[in-house]
């Protein structure tokens, strides 16, 4: 290992070129760029899913995605005014207090073009790539209410038209939406239906002339429900399927408020993001022309899935932006406040909190821009698992960081005179909306399991049958493993893509990936398709995968930074190494638990406790002061 590194270093010294250790990286950069020009087919390379097989698809994530110089200049031009606007013209305290975004603020946002960030330029939007969208998201997130209003408008509200709408629909609606003349909202949730499509009650019936649908039903918790002029509504329609049977299927519609019959309730009084408008929207015989069906009749489920899956990655940037701001605010306090003649920043436990915040921000940022970069590659790559991981990691990280920041501030963080309690309230919603983190963990783990299962089924069946050849092969592999203790997936070494200063972390990552592959295999062997019901197992699988993806992101980013000599790259290396060793231990623990049976890893006990409590719907222990005699 160290020899290897020496050789690499000596080589680099000889060539008088500090970048040669990353020859491999450069090579892959060139190949990807050359491919970019003519690749048009859908990519089947998948990074996160391959981790389930114990493989690292390094071409996907190394080197860290970059944007070219012009794009960078362009984004900087956007960032400046937006930042200025948010610093000077947005009064978050007032928005929070009055539970309303003032119209002059909204107008300012419209003028900056923030209502159509991802709408292509030909429809009057900014036409930003995912990367640039994430970058702007960092600033917008400084006010939770505005961020949610904008996200509900364009990340979900008009996304349906953008990704599944036809040309006429785009021409008709997108320009006004992009300009902010119209606000969009996404109407999926119903009183009886969150993530269960079967319980959607809103119904669209075809009128007798066959040219219109009549939509009836009510939708709840609709962000922008009170402001919106254009709704993406999901409703049940009767569809004749291929065997000639009538079936109810979900269809997506573009509904204008103008169509009539659209009413909304009073805005909900919320814990956080109070300035965003959330309310119930009721459709009463709303007449929608048949041209306003998004996609095809009965194809609404796919549309909804795609919309939901595509919007999540941006949360990483948003959370990172918020934490960066928090670090600035709290470190000032920690540097000035003195206790026992020492400033707070000299106390170990306070230092630890800042390190946690920096680490989290760094990891989130890395994951978000890695994912955004992957999504920006041509060929519509499917990065929904990656995006879900970014969402889960960053929402939970943000919650922890805000809470740590509040802890540093003590009582100051708890009062309404300072913005910190608002940050805390605002960021609680991140764990809930756009698919709760629990549901997304299921998605992450099951999608990977499905992928790995397809590939491994044959092998596992052979093993179960007791095929001697396969078993011997397995045994041989096990023996080889035990003899050679290191796992080499090719991240380091001659063809390596990771900078030598991160080699240790890369090795840990490789080891984790390898054992994750074997763990997944044994899980599939043990549970087969019934793993769907093993939620506690799936949760751990998802956690390991999230850690692995986060490790990938930081390794890739720090390698790039050090190679091109970004400012403070040594700090990045430090962060990356710290995070990786921490994640390595967590992963090992989780995987050790995964290899055990339910009684050993406490799963059974947890379930039993919950069962007994839920049976009585109360905490059932006697009071400690009770006596029987």
């Amino acid at each position: 290992m160290s020899l290897n590194r020496l050789v690499v270093f000596s080589k680099s010294v000889r060539c008088k070129n500090l970048l040669t250790p990353l020859i491999g990286q450069f090579r892959s950069v060139t190949t990807i760029q050359s491919q970019r020009s003519f690749r048009t087919y859908a990519r089947n390379l998948v990074y996160a899913k391959d981790l389930f097989l114990g493989k690292v698809n390094k071409a996907e994530v190394f080197p860290y995605p970059e944007i070219d110089k012009e794009e960078l200049e362009e984004i900087k031009q956007f960032v400046g005014p937006v930042e200025k606007f948010f610093n000077e013209d947005v009064d978050s305290k007032r928005i929070d207090h009055e539970a309303k975004i003032p119209s002059e603020t909204l107008n300012g946002l419209k003028e900056l073009g923030l209502f159509g960030m991802q709408v292509p330029e030909e429809y009057g939007g900014l036409g930003l790539s995912n990367t640039m969208y994430a970058r702007l998201g960092e600033i917008i997130s400084l006010d939770g209410s505005i961020a949610v209003t904008l996200a509900a408008h364009q990340a979900i509200g008009l996304k349906g038209i953008l990704i599944a709408g036809n040309e006429q629909q785009k021409v008709k609606y997108l320009p006004k939406l992009a300009a902010g003349q119209h606000v969009a909202a996404f109407c999926l949730t119903e009183p009886g239906s969150g993530s269960d499509a079967a319980s959607i009650q809103t119904r669209a019936t075809l009128t007798e002339d066959g040219k219109h649908f009549l939509i009836n039903g009510s939708k709840i918790w609709i962000s922008n429900g009170g402001l919106a002029d254009i709704f993406t509504v999901f409703a049940r329609t009767e569809v004749v399927d291929k065997d000639g049977q009538k079936k109810d299927k979900i269809t997506a519609f573009i509904v204008e408020r103008e169509f009539g019959g659209v009413t909304n309730g009073a805005p909900e009084d919320k814990l956080g993001i109070r300035g965003s408008n959330t309310c119930e929207v009721v459709f009463d015989n709303t007449k929608v022309p048949i041209e306003n069906v998004i996609g095809e009749v009965g194809g609404g489920f796919k549309v909804a899935m795609n919309i939901l899956n595509s919007g999540r990655f941006s949360m990483g940037g948003a959370c990172a932006g918020m934490i960066k701001k928090l670090i600035e605010l709290t470190s000032e306090y920690a540097g000035t406040r003195k206790q026992f003649n020492k400033s707070l920043s000299e106390f170990g436990m306070i230092q630890e909190k800042f390190a946690t915040m920096a680490l989290n921000a760094f990891v989130m940022e890395s994951m978000a821009y890695l994912t955004a970069g992957m999504m920006d590659r041509p060929g519509m790559p499917d990065c929904s698992v990656e995006a879900a991981m970014v969402k889960v990691f960053s929402s939970e990280g943000a919650w922890i960081c805000v809470s740590e920041a509040l802890q540093v501030l003590g009582g100051l963080g708890y009062v309404k005179n300072y913005p910190f309690e608002r940050f805390l309230r605002d960021c609680r919603i991140l764990l809930i909306f756009e698919g709760t983190n629990e549901i997304l963990r299921m998605y992450i783990a099951l999608t990977g399991m499905q992928y790995a299962g397809k590939i491994l089924t044959g092998k596992i069946k052979e093993m179960k049958k007791g095929n001697v050849g396969v078993v011997l092969q397995m045994l041989g592999k096990k023996v080889r493993e035990s003899v050679s203790s290191t796992v080499d997936l090719g991240l380091t070494g001659n063809d390596g893509v990771v900078h030598p200063s991160l080699a240790d972390s890369a090795k840990k990552f490789e080891e984790n990936v390898y054992y994750f592959g074997t763990t997944v295999e044994s899980l599939l062997y043990r549970y087969g398709k019934t793993i769907v019901d093993e939620q506690l197992v799936l949760k751990r699988v998802a956690d390991v995968l999230i850690n692995l993806y986060a490790m990938t992101a930081v390794l890739s980013r720090a390698s790039r930074s050090i190679s091109i000599g970004l400012r403070n790259h040594d700090h990045e290396v430090l962060l990356a190494n710290t995070f990786c060793s921490d994640a390595y231990f967590k992963n090992n623990f989780l995987m050790a638990q995964l290899q055990k049976n339910a009684p050993e890893n406490n799963d059974d006990s947890m379930k039993k406790i919950a069962k007994e409590v839920l049976e009585k719907r109360a905490y059932i222990c006697s009071h400690p002061l009770e006596r029987t005699f």
Binding site: M442, K461, K464, K529, T530, T628
Partner: protein, 426 residues
Amino acid sequence: MNCARRLARITIRGFAPYATVTARESAKCLNPYGSGVQTLRAFHAGFGHLKDQSVSRGDGHPRHEGSLVTHDSLFEQAAVEARTKAMFNRVLEVFVRKDIRRRGHVEFIYAALRKMPEFGVERDITVYNKLLDVFPKEVFVPRNFIQRMFNHYPRQQECAVQLLEQMENYGILPNVETKVLLVQIFGEKSHPMRKYQRLMYWFPKFKHTNPYPVPQDLPQDPLDLARLSLTRVAADPDACVTVYQMPSTDVSETIVADVSLPYVVGIQSPEQRSLLAKHNASRPVFVEGPFPLWLRKTCVYYYVLRADPVPPEEKVQEPVDPERSFFYPLELDLDLERDLGDDDSFDVDEVEEGPIFAMCMASRGDQATLAKWIAGLQQTNPVLGRAPTLFRLESVSREIQRAGESEPGAEPGLEEEPPHRQAMKQ
């Protein structure tokens, strides 16, 4: 070893009376005001057979019988005036004051124990303590090792054990006063003291063994009682009780019984409602009953609305709609089953029963009354209008036995098992 044997003895002692009483009690529930005294006698005898040999009782019996008359008469005289706690206490006081030597106190205590249920003080710890107080103090405390080794004053000790035993049977936990009295009367290591210690060891442990406790005092109003019973049977926190018909009596009429309306109270959970909605209307639903439910000493009867189990050919396994969950797949498309090593399910022979759609209680078990229940249910369950309803009721209609009317005495603290009864009648 010795411990184990002793434990076993305790268990036998403890439960044998229950068994006798339970059988007796259940037989009696058809015939209230049965022979209470007899019950207790049988219970004495049962106890006596199992009694520790070391506690001699040989000469006690005939005298016991003989003196019984006088002491019983003491109570009977009092009973003529009033059967109250105060009167019982007065009898005790009279006895204590009558003779400084407390002659015949063992017989008196036996008699008092027997009379306690009659005076309604069988669950009163203070009365038991007062009764213990009848024993002269310090006389029976062994003074040397020989006395301690042998059974010192066996009749008195046996009597005290008997008293504690009766407390045990009524589920009365001794208190500190009991302990102090026992120490004063028999000393630290006597048989009654041992009995006391065993009681104190086991009673608290068993106090909360019943996960479905029945309140000590059942509601007096039959409607409330029905509510309580139905929620108990349904065992579903979501189930809601509906009163389909309030009981009412037309007071102005002379023939009250004919105009009085029976109450009809039913319970149905949302889950049962959806089950009923899925019921195939061409198959009948059955109203069956009455089924007994025991609440302490009260037996109430309920009726169920049920159907036969769905025949296998009608059962359709609905495939999971792939377009059901917006966020994650509900099923994996894999050809791998769970490994045997991770299959934690037991191999249990399961007999499938038909679904039960609702339960009800009514003060009259005739078809006309229950039809009102079905009519009420029909408002929320329209399928009942289409499906044929068959009444399969047991011909013998029984009155609901109320707590107050039930047999006093005998078995406390435990849930009686109702005698097994074939409830279904075609």
